[in-house]
């Protein structure tokens, strides 16, 4: 049985100021197997973040439904951990308190909380920074904390909305390896949204390519590259071949986005 089932999920936004309603997402069907690492790749504004937010329960679909372990998603919950592109650590809590936030909301006893928090601090390599405030951390460290915070709840699925999008290229590469390393060891089901082709291939066991707005699934590409993956993989011939194929796919969509935007403007 699939871990996550997306059935006919679409999203239409009401028109602004009496305008035409805007269709962000055409009906999407997707089945995600347990422990799969799925990247959703698409041009800006293709509705990939909307799809992820619907899975998270932060937005309601206009049609269709999302099932996690056979249960319909109606609102956000700790079984679906999420990390965002923007920095969303609670600025009034320390790194350790941020990671322990979800556990505390669920009323887990303090001792147990501290143990779990300590293990995730080690996992994302933030030992020594437990008592720092988010403002004192670099962008990469903040996102590591955010991922640890989402993981600390031990969610059924991890939803990542371009979590490395605001980071510089070098940090981004390191973060990809770190996250992949965590996934290789802990085996989680992951849905990872990105517009970066290399990132999509490097991280994924399966890349879902989305079309230009209104988004729909354009292609579904398995990535059979071996694990553990090392950054040198990005220069291998197999990787390059996949990249060429996806670049072609996404280029057509990006051009269509550009055209509709210039017509609409």
């Amino acid at each position: 049985m699939s871990k996550l089932l997306i059935e006919g999920v679409s999203r239409t936004f009401a028109g602004v100021g009496g305008g035409q309603p805007v269709r962000a997402l055409q009906p999407v069907d997707l089945a995600v197997a347990a422990n799969d690492f799925i990247t959703i790749l698409g041009p800006s504004g293709c509705g990939k973040s909307t799809l992820l937010r619907i899975v998270a329960g932060l937005e309601a679909p206009s049609t269709g439904r999302v099932l996690l372990d056979g249960k319909a998603v109606t609102r956000p919950g700790p079984d679906r951990g999420m990390a965002f592109q923007s920095y969303t650590l609670f600025p009034w809590l320390t790194v350790a308190e941020n990671i322990g936030f979800g556990l505390r909301e669920q009323g887990r006893p303090e001792r147990e909380r501290n143990e779990i928090v300590a293990s995730y601090i080690d996992l994302v390599g933030l030992r020594g920074f437990e008592n720092h405030w988010p403002k004192q951390l670099s962008g990469g460290m903040q996102q590591r904390t955010a991922i640890a915070r989402a993981l600390a709840n031990d969610p059924e699925i991890l939803l990542l909305d371009e979590p490395f999008g605001a980071l510089d290229n070098q940090t981004r590469g390191l973060m990809q390896e770190l996250l992949l390393g965590i996934w290789e060891r802990r085996k989680k089901t992951v849905l990872f949204v990105t517009h970066d082709i290399e990132e999509a291939i490097f991280m994924a066991s399966r890349v879902i390519v989305m079309s230009a707005r209104p988004g729909r699934i354009k292609s579904d590409v398995p990535v059979d590259l071996p694990h553990p993956r090392h950054y040198t993989l990005k220069t291998s011939p197999e990787f390059s071949e996949l990249k060429a194929q996806l670049t072609e796919d996404i280029r057509i969509e990006a051009m269509r986005t550009a055209q509709t935007q210039s017509v609409g403007a």
Binding site: P76, G77, P78, P91, W92, A146, A150, N153
Partner: protein, 258 residues
Amino acid sequence: MLRPLHPVAPGTRTVLGIAFFVLFVAFGAWITLGGHVNRIFLADPLSMLKDGWRLLVEDRFWLDILITIWRVFGGFVLASIVAVPIGIGMGAWKPVEAFLEPFVSFARYLPASAFIPLLILWAGIGELEKLLVIFVGSVFQIILIVAVKVGSTRRDLVEAAYTLGATDNGIVKRVIMPANAPEIAETLRLVLGWAWTYVIVAELIGSSSGIGYMIINSQSRLATGQIIFGIIVIGLIGLLSDFAFKALNRWLYPWSLA
């Protein structure tokens, strides 16, 4: 060279700040001691200080100062206790906002001083009336500002908390409240400044003690030195309470400045 938005060194900043006070006092001394204005209208700094000293020592003016401070803080604390929870409620729950916002916006424009005759009728000319003037003057302001701050809580933080399993109750208590605490404290600091203007007005009418009473009393005796001394005392207390409030906020919310 003065370059736009270019920062000034901390030492220079202090010197410049003090320099204006010095200039200001020097100008006052020049026009008064130099005989450029009538002494009845403006006392010179020296006789102002002398008058002030006499006030403090002989007329027990420090009692008036204490009673005025008590009135400001009493009325202000009362207003904060009522206004902050209402403001948070309005900011967090939109139906509450829809229910209260029009009335509070209306009430905010009612000048506290216009209520003084009514409050005297209701509460007499005792301490309660003075506290109520401060209360009426502050409470609606605090409610509205707090409601706006809370209403603009970062949505992404709220969403993150929901995905971590927070309940609606948890969102209010452990996201909305801590996220806005420094700004609410800053709002209170601002409104405390306004409360000082209300207290003097309250003391000008139907009062037999307080800084405002001393000022109106001095006017009938043409004691301009005392009036100016009273005004300066208010300014100094305002400055001190402002510093204290800022220091308290820095100590309570170090994360917002880190």
